[in-house]
Amino acid sequence: MIALTGTPRPALPQLRLMGIAVPIAVLLALVPSFANSYQTLLLAYGLIIAIAGLGFNLLLGYTGLLSFGHSAYFGTGAYAVAFMAQDLGVRSMEAYILCGLALSAIVSAVFGFICVRHTRIFFGILTLALSQVLWSLALKLFWITGGSDGLRVPRPTLLGGMLTYTGGGFPRFISYYYYYVLVLFVVCVLVMWMIVHSPFGKALQAIRDNETRAAFLGLRVRRFRWVAFLISGVYTGLAGVLWVPLNGLTTPDILYWPFSGEIVFLTLLGGFRNFTGPIVGGIVFTFLKTYAVATTEYWQILLGVVLVVLVLVLPTGIVGALAQLIGRLWPQRAD
């Protein structure tokens, strides 16, 4: 209901975006110069998972579809890299990205075609079921996937070897890889921002708000949902591609349902009714998880409890709550 108060929105969203995004991007770019390589590594993980969150939220926040199976696309991206590294001996990060995107596009196109015939819970469980199929395949076809041991992925070459980090060891790799991720992250944010502010994005939001009326505007609802699903899957797949070289290993765990749950969680944590929600959620989540896992073995309970509490008392997430707070402290001038 907070969203319905009818506060006027600023005239030029482009300007507002630049005003917020540029300082933050500069800040992010400076991080490796003052943070140690472990914190840089965590932030890189955070940015990667934020890309997955952005993709996920195109479905949840903008299209009104709650997927419990986004691990499938993340895993597809990750395994695509692992197969290329192991079976084809490819080392180029750019080749990983291209093939990873293609493969996750194919998988999400097929899965999406099945899932968008349904909405609400049917959609949710279908996505869950399909991701479980991939998970069980990854476990059982061990001669291809390495089973529960997973597949190792060596450090790739960046920009066709133009960025060399050999000799610099792990810290050097991290700082280069961090910038690599940051650039892609910025591109992803800009592209997603464009998508949600495009006529297509508005159509998705219309479908979310009122499916029947959208159909009576002549919008082909199912097709729009399918394209949204595809984009969402590709984003999450890219996150998987970027994640593997950092982790050095991919296991079926990233295809398993709790991983989908983490994507759901971080989006809700940040706030799924905001564009920036999943970004903030992804970064906060990564740090939260790292420190929580270090202190307790029962990370999932914490996740579940926080999720329930979020839904019951803070349904707009961190960004939503901040926006409300700011709105209360500095009421916007009506223009």
């Binding site: 099945i114 069980s136 749950g261 029962y298 999932q300 839904v311 019951l312």
Partner: protein, 294 residues
């Protein structure tokens, strides 16, 4: 021929368990319009509690007789029902007026919590109650050896289906349950305390899931992850049969069990995929399932 008979019995055994889970899921959906994502975990909880109780009973000495062990099963199911009776008013009730996403998210949070609680309490090791199976004889069916316990489970499945049908269609509470599911507002305007019906319906649904877990655990160990597998399978069942329909849950459970048995026989690597394929085809052809309405 003999193999076929055994396979049919195996399918029926499996159908009994699946029916219990799916019928609970369907009942809760039919009455309160909520799909409980933690339903599979409640089934797992029933399995763990029952296995644990039986384990304690045996550890407590007394050459345990099978009959005595059978009495522990409903206790496992009742404990799960109790959990349900706590969950509904505290976690779900505040959400009936909110968007559906939130209901799904809360039951999903519950799923995460329950899975870890079970890991916390019982650790990562499988927990069995196979003494119950051992206490019953092995029977000969067309020359093949077959555990009598499985026949008992098939019997329980049949009785549960009949009992649930009688409960919903032949009792006063069943009338109120159906009235609530058809028109909650009108039911309350006629003097029905819908809140109480909700708690009871949810608890009964949980009881069914818990009972499913309780009867499966003597022949299959309770393990982590069984809950989500069960949730997804139960969902396949209700998708095939139609969400909210008791008949659908029964027919769906039978179809899924037979397909799964055949799948294990012929495509052992991808039996799950075969099941989802079936569900997918049914959804493409008949989006509301075989007996679904809305």
């Amino acid at each position: 021929m003999e193999i076929l008979a055994i396979q049919i019995l195996n399918s029926l055994f499996y159908a009994s368990v699946l029916f219990l889970i799916a019928a609970g899921l369907s009942l809760i959906f039919g009455v309160m319009n909520i799909v409980n994502l933690a339903h599979g975990s409640l089934y797992a909880l029933g399995a763990y509690i029952t296995a644990w109780l039986i384990g304690r009973a045996i550890a407590g000495g007394s050459g345990a007789s099978a009959i005595w062990l059978f009495l522990l099963m409903p206790i496992g199911a009742l404990a799960v029902a109790l959990v349900g009776a706590v969950i509904e008013p505290t976690l779900l009730r505040p959400l009936y007026r909110r968007a559906e996403e939130y209901q799904l998210l809360v039951t999903f949070g519950l799923l995460l919590i329950l899975e870890d609680v079970m890991r916390f309490v019982w650790g990562g090791l499988p927990l069995t109650a196979d003494t119950v199976v051992d206490a019953l004889p092995i029977v000969r069916i067309l020359g093949q050896l077959y555990p009598a316990y499985n026949l008992v489970v098939i019997g329980i499945g049949g009785i549960a289906a009949l009992g649930l049908w009688a409960f919903v269609y032949r009792t006063r509470f069943g009338v109120m349950l159906r009235a609530t599911s058809q028109d909650r507002r009108m039911a309350s305007a006629l003097g029905l305390d819908v809140g109480r019906v909700y708690i009871l319906a949810f608890a009964i649904g949980c009881f069914m899931a818990g009972l499913g877990g309780a009867i499966v655990v003597p022949s299959q160990a309770a393990v982590l992850g069984m809950g989500v597998d069960a949730l997804v399978l139960a969902f396949v069942v209700v998708v095939v049969g139609g969400l909210g329909s008791l008949k659908g849950a029964l027919v769906g459970a039978l179809i899924v069990s037979f397909v799964r048995t055949a799948g294990i026989q012929f495509f052992p690597e991808v039996e799950l995929a075969v099941l989802y394929l079936i569900a997918g085809i049914v959804l493409l052809v008949r989006p509301t399932g075989l007996f679904g309405t809305a």
